[in-house]
Symmetry: C2
Subunit: 309 residues, 2 copies
Amino acid sequence: MSLEKVSSNKAFGGQLVKYKFKSETLGGLNANFNLYLPPSATTSKVPILTYLSGLTCTEDNGAQKGGFLGPAAQEGIAILFPDTSPRGAGIEGEDDDWDFGTGAGFYLNATNPKFAKHYNMFTHVTVELPAVLAAAALPIDFTRQSIFGHSMGGHGALTLYLNSLYHGAKQYRSVSAFAPISNPINCPWGQKAFTGYLQGGIEEAKEKYDATELIKKLKSPVNILVDYVCEKEYDEISALTLNATQGTADNFYIQGQLLPENFLKAARDAGYDEVQVRVRSQEGYDHSYYFISTFGADHIHFHSNFLKA
Amino acid sequence: MSLEKVSSNKAFGGQLVKYKFKSETLGGLNANFNLYLPPSATTSKVPILTYLSGLTCTEDNGAQKGGFLGPAAQEGIAILFPDTSPRGAGIEGEDDDWDFGTGAGFYLNATNPKFAKHYNMFTHVTVELPAVLAAAALPIDFTRQSIFGHSMGGHGALTLYLNSLYHGAKQYRSVSAFAPISNPINCPWGQKAFTGYLQGGIEEAKEKYDATELIKKLKSPVNILVDYVCEKEYDEISALTLNATQGTADNFYIQGQLLPENFLKAARDAGYDEVQVRVRSQEGYDHSYYFISTFGADHIHFHSNFLKA
């Protein structure tokens, strides 16, 4: 698991470093990730926040477009940006679709023998990457971890967090998500992924990889923030920019891929209030990084409350 | 010159809108640009800051990666993001190199007959785009304009600003640049561009398109901010991230493409002090958008002083 530095860029007084290493959990393939170390990492170990990106993304999208690095520098928090799937496994069909296979690992451990050697992003993110960073003696305090993500990565963040709590491990202190796939057993993206990656299909996923199902059976306190976009907004500024009848919207919400209300309802039914599970509708935004960057600082500050408590 | 809306994204409470139109100055080709309108544009006309991007870029790079939109929303400033060249002129050889032709218009008006019909980014940015926006009745106050840019776009920003002052037009109140090509008649990129686009070659460029030459002959007050990166920095945080012997750096500075010291010396020789021409060396950064985004808010605030005066 020896780490190789691919590139580094100074940003907001800290360093964004891209590393690669041969990943055992991904079947021996090379895996890339980015790590942002804030300026304060020179004087003490810093807490770490993992950002999981969405379908088709790599370790770069969040680092380049999320607007996270400035707030993380201010708060003294490291950010880990993993990739979204193994790359180059050579499995038949893995590059055919944008929503399955390469770029679409869904942060699970595959049990279908066809994918089980390589598609293990769950263990890659929760176990292997922290171990690799620790082995490289990077200045990170692994007793202080949180996680967030976007879309498929929002699904990943919620399910990794909830699984950890459910199994008593408490690896992450808090979780947040932008427009997460919130109830994947009931949406086309999730059904396709689970049917493909898991021997037990949707039934297997229901136990392990569905945030709405997981929150139903949880008893412990949680710290959850979700931002999503449910409606187009017809506002004055849209009217000013031509095509006055159209606001923007999250088309994947409209298609029923995200289902955040299902997660919210399950959380409320399980007794979680607005303090523990905060779900906010942000009208007029869409599924893009323009939406994410607008609320990026807000999410960093949310996690900072717990990481620095 | 009728404007067509290609897409829009809500960001930081405002709207980023991509438009296209048939550009007369670019020989009748379709031209794209992005316009960010801050939330305050719904209640009053707002000042406008033009951002010129560097080699190989489009109208998207600055909007996605610059970190400008949040500060512009706060300050109530619109940002115009033009493209970097005409697209699809069909001129022999225009797509052969990344530093000449498509994506490399150098913000000049070509006089070489081969390019003169299409490569007129100078007039496109200074005259045509403001006219197109005004004709669409967008809520912009064109008496309050400033300009900034990166690398080739830093060259563009400086030369458009200085030309405007030199000819008494005062179109822009202030200019800033990240790692600008500051003395292009003396660097390989500039020499290649000027020899290719201009009938009079480097002699013609010396009169019109070289910031260092232009500042020498200027008498009027100026408001100029330049950030550049002259040195690798071997600091503690680089040491922590493996390969302890390497900091980051701006490789194009090292290659002699930027020459900001020439501009600084010319400005001081012409009598401009640190208040009017502020040139800052930011050590340890590089030529990327990680550098730009680190100082993006700073540049917006610099321009805000003049745009809202």
